[in-house]
Point group: C2
Chain length 337, copies 2
């Protein structure tokens, strides 16, 4: 990967106040205890007011807010930014791509923009693309991961839709994270060594499907969200191990040289299975899903935000994202500068 | 851009038989003559049976079919392909990204996949990303542009929805195009010189919006598609001229050295305005929208498919795509090998 890519700063954005499991249980009359054991998330933020149903934040709002923080921390003006890459599964609209509305909001004009459609692996795909964009005319760029689940969040307690989307309410959350990427080496930055992004598991049924509806679907919409929890619990730890081995091999690192692990941010008991499967004893694990919720493509950037406060020069980190939709394994090797 | 990128082969796919303006007028009782003057499209293909409303092709179906043709023409097996990039505005679902279902259908496993969300500019963005993916572990890849408008195609003649989506019916169409990209120079291939992809027109209102609906939108859906035809007619020719000038400057080419122009494939009188604005006298124009319909991200690949039959070694071509959503200008310089 050339030229070198460095994460100079990070930024994050969450809508409104945190919503804990008790608040959701009160609002919808569901059972907290069993849900909590299953999902493992203590709180999350929503881009909608759960009481009024009013949407409070768009993906554009959250993405622009995270970018603005990352830019301020790197002391950048809009004219300094040469490109934007967004990874999301939940764009504000199909067209225009939300990344352009974020650029517009930030006052960034005449730049290359790209938006990757993906579940959680999109965050690392966006980082990969951003690294490859760095060249003589792209010196500094913004990489963003963001998701909002509000369009699929049915809040009417009088329908049985809450039951259907209950896992969304408890497990998911909304948010955005961003990073400033530059080819120039800045002390205190994090170098991106290699990025793995690999479609796996040929012929295996998707573990997660999230649909969208058009005007012609309104009369008879399909199930909006489907998840195969058993397949996810089985396959994600194995794919995480594969991703770890493959990205270390690509980078030429021994596992013992890694100080930090940013593991897949999946709900429930899966994270523990992943840790067991990876057999990591002496690494520091950096996770955020319990407090941020499963904010999809935003989560790896929240983890990077935490890593930046801790990683020292020459320390090594590996971030892994496993997307159970059609079984994507993604990973990145990082090094403190 | 290094290493060099070469388009080795192309493939296309259209669903079913062509649907001409008379057939649509018969089906919906609309006025052909005025519509035809406005839209400039003689026929298009739809991934839905207009009489029964039955969906006949998914984006996955069409994308895989176009890829299979491109692979067969380049004599490639699934194991030869190192990556797939899809540009689309109309994925089959939000998650998994359709590009993975296309890979699965083709029997391609353990490869890097990326899906760019974009209007028509996504085709050139996908080509750009594919060129940047070529490296020591990515030697050969598939680039795909595809769109299907059927999810927004309301066919009930008893509602007034046909009126609202009439421009979709007449102007749009469904299809997919693909190209095999390789770093190795193959005689008869087309070299990709430079790709321009630039968000423009800061603060200008979008000229086109295509929305998607979630489970929470079903009760009160917004207008699915909005277009500002006047702004499109005004701005697209100007942006096409800018794109032409900028991509020629990036490549270091004089306009007089260009033999072929693949202009923006926009409906109605816009193409003539574009040609006038570009002031091109001695170039051969390669267009397909009149016969294929406005199949979005597929169209640049249909144009490439036509170019491949004509371009000779050392001849030069420029392709331009202007996306009026949030005013994206994209262009690529190409050279016969």
């Amino acid at each position: 990967m050339s030229p070198d890519a460095h994460i100079v700063s990070t930024g994050t954005a969450l809508p409104g106040e945190p919503v804990d499991n008790e608040a959701i249980a009160r609002r919808f009359g569901t059972d907290v205890a069993s849900a909590e054991a299953f999902i493992g998330t203590r709180q999350r933020h929503f881009a909608v007011d759960l009481n009024t149903g009013q949407v409070t934040h768009t993906l554009t709002d959250l993405g622009a807010q995270a970018c603005a923080q990352a830019m301020a921390r790197a002391d950048l003006e809009p004219r300094d930014v040469d490109f934007l890459v967004l990874g999301t599964s939940s764009p504000d609209a199909l067209v225009p791509a939300t990344v352009n509305l974020i650029a517009d909001r930030l006052g960034i004009d005449q730049v290359s923009t790209y938006q990757l459609q993906s579940g959680c692996a999109g965050a690392l795909q966006a980082l990969d693309l951003a690294c490859r964009l760095l060249d003589e005319e792209h010196l500094i760029g913004l990489v963003v991961g963001a998701d909002v689940c509000v369009k699929h969040l049915v809040l009417d307690r009088n329908t049985n839709s809450v039951g259907r989307t209950g896992h969304v309410l408890f497990g998911d959350g909304d948010g955005a994270g961003a990073a400033v990427l530059a080819s120039e080496l800045v002390p205190g930055s994090i170098a991106v060594r290699r990025v793995l992004n690999r479609f796996s598991e040929l012929s295996r049924t998707p573990g997660q499907v999230v649909r969208w509806f058009g005007a012609a679907d309104l009369a008879r919409p399909e199930q909006p969200v489907e998840q195969d929890h058993k397949a996810i619990a089985q396959r994600v730890p194995l794919l995480a191990r594969q991703a770890m081995r493959e990205v270390l091999g690509m980078t030429g690192w021994y596992q013992a040289s890694v100080s930090y692990l940013l593991p897949p941010q999946l709900p429930g008991r899966v994270p523990q299975h992943v840790a067991n499967e990876l057999g990591l004893a002496d690494v520091t694990e950096i996770s955020c899903v319990a407090d941020v919720g499963n904010a999809g493509n935003a989560l790896p950037f929240f983890q990077l935000d935490l890593l930046r406060d801790r990683i020292l020069a020459e320390e090594r980190a590996v971030a892994i994202a496993i997307e159970p939709s059609k079984w994507i394994k993604a990973a990145v090797t990082l090094e403190g500068m």
